[in-house]
Symmetry: C2
Subunit: 144 residues, 2 copies
DNA sequence: TCTATTCTAAACTGAATTACTCAACTATTA
DNA sequence: TAATAGTTGAGTAATTCAGTTTAGAATAGA
């Protein structure tokens, strides 16, 4: 039940990009240095965030990355789903990537105790992460 | 952010053992058959639960497993921690297996936004799973 | 006691995932 | 056109996952 390093690094990188929002581009090496993230690894994370539509980038001499949307329109839930997949602790309770249980004997009876409990767990997690934006998140770190 | 098959099978096996609580021993092949769990895999799960003090067993001709404690004294949180380790989504917010973050730049400043949010997530999960007992759990399945 | 039954313990395996690293490439700008 | 910076894809060592195999030890009943 852990989030991957990818998710953690993504959140830390986005903390820097949020602080920089509206200003100049931020380069990967700068993020890597400030957050102690291995630069090549950070790169694939930034790429994933870019491909998911959260970041823009520019190459060449004063290139770098920037947030493409305002920080209060990006939730931690979105970010974590990009890097780690669904938040649900079991496939049959995922709302974004539902998968029915093939071997669960309760699945046929219409009600499964595991599904019930885990549904509650998934909602509790999503409730927090889908309502927490990068602005809330960075607000704690970069309060002026 | 998924629970392993081990945890899922453990919960399903315990559902059977809870229904059987106070009666005769239940054999692994019976559990395996009723819950569609590969028997050899189930075995290591039952062993782990036994070593963790949740089950008793007897070998030989009418041997089998049984719950060693009443179902309302075993929580889903306990079970999942045995098979999957801590519930916390990141080491630095685990109460049962805390590990400090070595590379987080906020760890020195006394307050880390990731730790704050993830602490909330871990509490939300634990709040559900540590207050949900096998009796509650099985009650949904074996209501007479 | 012999034997079938059932749990115990540990090692083993193939596939997948994690956390990175490397190398070659393309775009930008001074 | 040289230096800078992002892009893409492949590679890799270590670990985890989901299970299988094998050999053994306890128990009950004949
Ligand atoms: S239906 Fe998914 S665990 Fe029962
Ligand atoms: S202290 Fe653990 S993530 Fe910052």
């Amino acid at each position: 039940m852990k989030f991957s390093k990818k998710s953690e690094y993504a959140l830390r990188a986005l903390l820097e990009l949020t602080a920089q929002y509206g200003r100049a581009l931020l380069q990967r090496h700068e993020i890597a240095k400030r957050q102690h993230i291995p630069i090549e690894f950070l790169e694939q994370i930034l790429l994933a965030l870019k491909n998911a539509g959260l970041l823009a980038s520019r190459r060449g001499v004063s290139g770098g990355y920037s947030l493409i949307k305002p920080p209060d329109e990006i939730t931690l839930g979105q970010v974590i789903r990009i890097l780690d997949g669904p938040l649900a602790p079991i496939g049959c309770v995922s709302k974004t990537a539902y998968q029915k249980c093939s071997d669960c004997p309760y699945v046929k009876k219409g009600s499964c105790p595991i599904q019930d409990v885990m549904g509650g767990v998934r909602n509790a997690i999503a409730e927090i992460l889908d309502n927490y934006t990068l602005r809330d998140f960075a607000g704690q770190a970069t309060r002026q």
